[in-house]
């Protein structure tokens, strides 16, 4: 490719044709201020903060969207450009609420950072303020349009990455507002609760619906036996909330921190993940037999809890589950009937654990620490509640909320020693750890399914062809002489691609893993906001988070879910065998089409 010569602030440089001014400046270590720009989303050029002076142009040009040309002379920091950028931020602030001190993003807000770094030191104008109602109708996402600066990042992530396009820009001028169609309440929209809008929002226009007050109250209640379960991906990301580099695993300190906060027992959602794999692989083998892929013959069909079609779709990601119900309800029979690891863990806590400890299940308060805002919705799905409509999971905290609670308590996370989970619901195999990254559920399922099918131990436990944090992967693996076609996708726009291929029948698939968020749970909508200069969809950050999970897996003695001795014990003492009647009653679920219907 041709190279283009230009100068940035009098520094000569040469970059490939097609490079933007912003990227060119980064090659010499100059980070042009920006606001609406996110590397993995489309270029909007909406905020104008990245404007630069270019010789021969009367107007300032946006560095994010302007490509370099031969001989271009760019100034990024002339007094005039600094003043213009400052004016732009002042104008954005003019109709922004003046409530930084009480705002959840205080100290972690891109608008605030820009106001500081561009030297805005007083509020000169009083613009017309926005007065929109806060929409907290959703179980997961709170929309506060007063804080919105119309950068459209949320609209882009909702459409370009998730293919949901729930968010759009409504009305015009001073009344412009970002929200669902007709500005209906979020709970009545096609929102799938994934929380990616929160991850990309530079301010606090989107936040998760906090459960911290309820959890503080439960912890302070002496009658309550408060237990925690932490999702596989939390250990890979929580350190970033305390300033650690991405990919630093912090399992032990997280356990200690939860005990310091006052939890009576700290369990691992990984145990639930192992249980999920045992049930899901049983279900998968049943479907293979039913369809003649494996010998064994047809099972009874037609029972809502035992659909038998192939390919089977994984069902751990509640954002994906919602998406399927709103956008592809005709494909419900493909969904694995297995509940997610969180929901399996919670119901085992309320039944098996309650019986074992002699604690009334009503007094057990289960807090799930999740990377995910959609888990706040999942716990309240009527299908997953008890006969009185009470959830088995009592509260879901995102990684961010837990980080905040630890800080708010005054716990010095980095000073903590490392403790172990409580047992028996705190022990897991390596297969469970990798649930937190895209491809992990597939790999874990293959390890167990392959052994059950062949009846022989696997020589190679690592299924490298389903690893890597890319959004769309297809592979074939040979099990007992049968070619099993698999696909692993994350980001729901990628889900659309594979679902359309399944519908068209152009290729026969057997098992498909689908995760709503980019990279899987490690890129979930509840993960810590990335540090300065990084972005949430950044592949390097996701790779480091994933690598730390694969490392934990590789270092574990037991790496196959069905070999977890505590899982074996659970079946012996309580669940009988995988796919038993009681397992179906407690560990499986159903799905139904949801309104409004999404547009594919």
């Amino acid at each position: 490719m041709k190279n283009i010569n230009l100068t940035v602030d009098d520094n000569p440089l040469s970059v490939p044709e097609g490079t933007t001014i912003m990227k060119a400046a980064e090659t010499i270590g100059v980070f042009i201020p920006r606001l609406c720009y996110v590397p993995d989303l489309g270029i909007e050029g909406a905020c104008r903060i990245c404007i630069v002076e270019v010789d021969g142009y009367k107007n300032y040009l946006t560095a994010c969207s302007t490509k370099v040309t031969e001989g271009m002379k760019v100034k990024t920091n002339s007094p005039a450009i600094r003043q213009a950028r400052r004016d732009l931020i002042e104008l954005i602030l003019d109709n922004h609420p003046m409530d930084c001190q009480t705002c959840e993003r205080d100290g972690n807000c891109e608008l605030q950072d820009l106001a500081y770094s561009l030297g805005v030191r007083e509020r000169l104008f009083a613009g017309q303020r926005k007065h929109f109602e806060i929409d907290d109708s959703s179980f997961s996402v709170v929309r506060n349009s007063d804080k919105c600066i119309l950068c459209h990042r949320c609209i882009r992530v909702c459409s370009e990455v998730q293919g949901v396009t729930n968010l759009g820009q409504m009305h015009r001028g001073v009344n412009t507002v970002v929200g669902p169609a007709h500005l209906v309440a979020m709970k009545d929209s096609v929102c799938i609760n994934c929380g990616q809008c929160i991850n990309v929002c530079p301010t606090a226009a989107f936040l998760e619906k906090s459960a911290t007050d309820e959890v503080w109250a439960a912890l302070a209640d002496p009658k309550k036996h408060v237990v925690a379960q932490i999702a596989p991906s939390i250990r890979a990301t929580i350190g970033e909330g305390f300033g650690e580099a991405p990919g630093t695993a912090e399992t032990g300190r997280t356990v200690t921190a939860l005990r310091r906060l006052g939890f009576d027992a700290v369990f691992d959602t990984n145990f639930g993940a192992d249980l999920t794999i045992v049930e899901e692989s049983e279900e998968f083998i049943g479907r293979l037999k039913h369809n003649g892929v494996l010998p064994g013959g047809k099972k009874e069909e037609g029972h809502l809890n035992h659909p038998q079609v192939l390919p089977m779709f994984t069902s751990c990601s509640p954002g994906w589950v919602s998406f399927m119900e709103h956008f592809y309800p005709e494909m419900i029979p493909h969904m694995s009937s297995c509940r997610s690891p969180m929901s399996m863990q919670s119901i085992i806590l309320k039944t098996f654990y309650a019986r074992k400890t002699g604690i009334d299940p009503k007094d057990i308060y289960v807090v799930a620490i999740m990377p995910c805002t959609a888990k706040k919705y999942e716990m309240r799905r009527p299908e997953l509640c008890d006969a009185d409509g009470n959830p088995h999971t009592d509260a879901v905290l995102t990684t961010r909320e837990l980080v905040w609670m630890i800080k708010a308590y005054g716990i010095d996370f980095m000073q903590l020693h490392e403790e172990e989970f409580d047992n028996p619901l705190g022990s897991s195999t390596g297969a469970a750890d990798i649930f937190g990254t895209t491809g992990g559920v597939m790999e874990a399922a293959l390890r167990t399914a392959a052994e059950k099918i062949t009846g022989k131990p696997l020589d190679e436990l690592n299924f490298y062809n389903v690893r890597a944090v890319t959004g769309y992967k297809e592979a074939s693996v040979e099990i007992a002489g049968i070619e099993v076609n698999i696909a692993v996708v994350n980001g729901l726009n990628n889900a659309k691609k594979i679902l359309e291929k399944v519908k068209s029948g152009e290729k026969e698939y057997h098992l498909i893993e689908l995760m709503a968020c980019p990279g899987g749970c490690i890129g979930g909508g509840g993960q810590p906001y990335p540090a300065d200069g990084r972005y949430v969809l950044n592949r390097e950050v996701l790779e480091k988070r994933a690598a730390s999970l694969y490392k934990i897996d590789a270092e574990k003695k037991i790496r196959k879910s069905h070999e977890n001795p505590y899982i074996q014990q659970l079946y012996q003492q309580f669940l009988q065998h995988p796919g038993s009647e009681i397992a179906h009653e407690l560990l499986h679920t159903t799905y139904e089409p949801k309104e409004p219907r999404g547009i594919k």
């Binding site: 007065h131 409504m170 009305h171 009344n175 007709h182 096609v190």
Partner: protein, 177 residues
């Protein structure tokens, strides 16, 4: 608009709306045969407004499904353009001229008088469905300033004190019909 932005409109929720007429359905189907059918969205919305007098919410949802354009995009376009109405028009549309001549002759006082009598603002329709209030720019009859039109009929040299009489008379006539 403004303060009511986040609340859903009672008209849209309550209104029983007739389904899309076959000629609009056929037009959408023709669009789908061509390239980039989504680019025909505004053309479709024009036809819908011509048929219903406004853009009913269930019809926007239907258009989104038929054209396979996300509902948030359809709703965004419909609410962006001044031309499109999201609420039905009243039996009488009052349009107060806010052009320069009318304005200096006190058009703002006329507007105030109407707003206070009907309890609606510009762009809104009374709950009983009788009156819709709009404003216009110069109608070209500055000699008659200030003017307003009601369903196209021009009222000239209007004073705020005449407003109750004009509006009550229309309402009485309408009820008598």
């Amino acid at each position: 608009m403004g303060k009511n932005e986040n609340s859903t409109c009672s008209h849209c929720d309550m209104q029983e709306v007739a389904p899309l007429p076959s000629e609009i359905i056929e037009f959408i189907e023709d669009c789908l045969k061509g390239e980039r059918p989504e680019s025909q969205l505004i053309a479709v919305l024009h036809k819908v407004q011509l048929h219903y007098g406004y853009l009913p919410r269930p019809i926007l949802d239907d258009v989104a499904q038929r054209l396979q354009v996300p509902t948030s995009v359809v709703s965004g376009v419909a609410s962006f353009y001044h031309f499109f109405r999201l609420t039905p028009k009243g039996k009488y549309t009052i349009s107060v001229c806010m052009g320069t001549a009318c304005f200096v002759k006190g058009a703002d006082k006329i507007l105030e008088a109407i707003e206070s009598q009907l309890g609606i603002e510009i762009g809104e329709t009374t709950g009983d469905g009788f009156f819709t209030l709009e404003q216009s720019r110069c109608l070209g009859v500055c000699a008659l300033a200030p003017v307003m039109t009601i369903n196209g009929k021009v009222y000239s040299r209007v004073t705020p004190t005449q407003i109750p009489e004009i509006l009550n008379k229309l309402r009485e006539e309408s009820i008598a019909e």
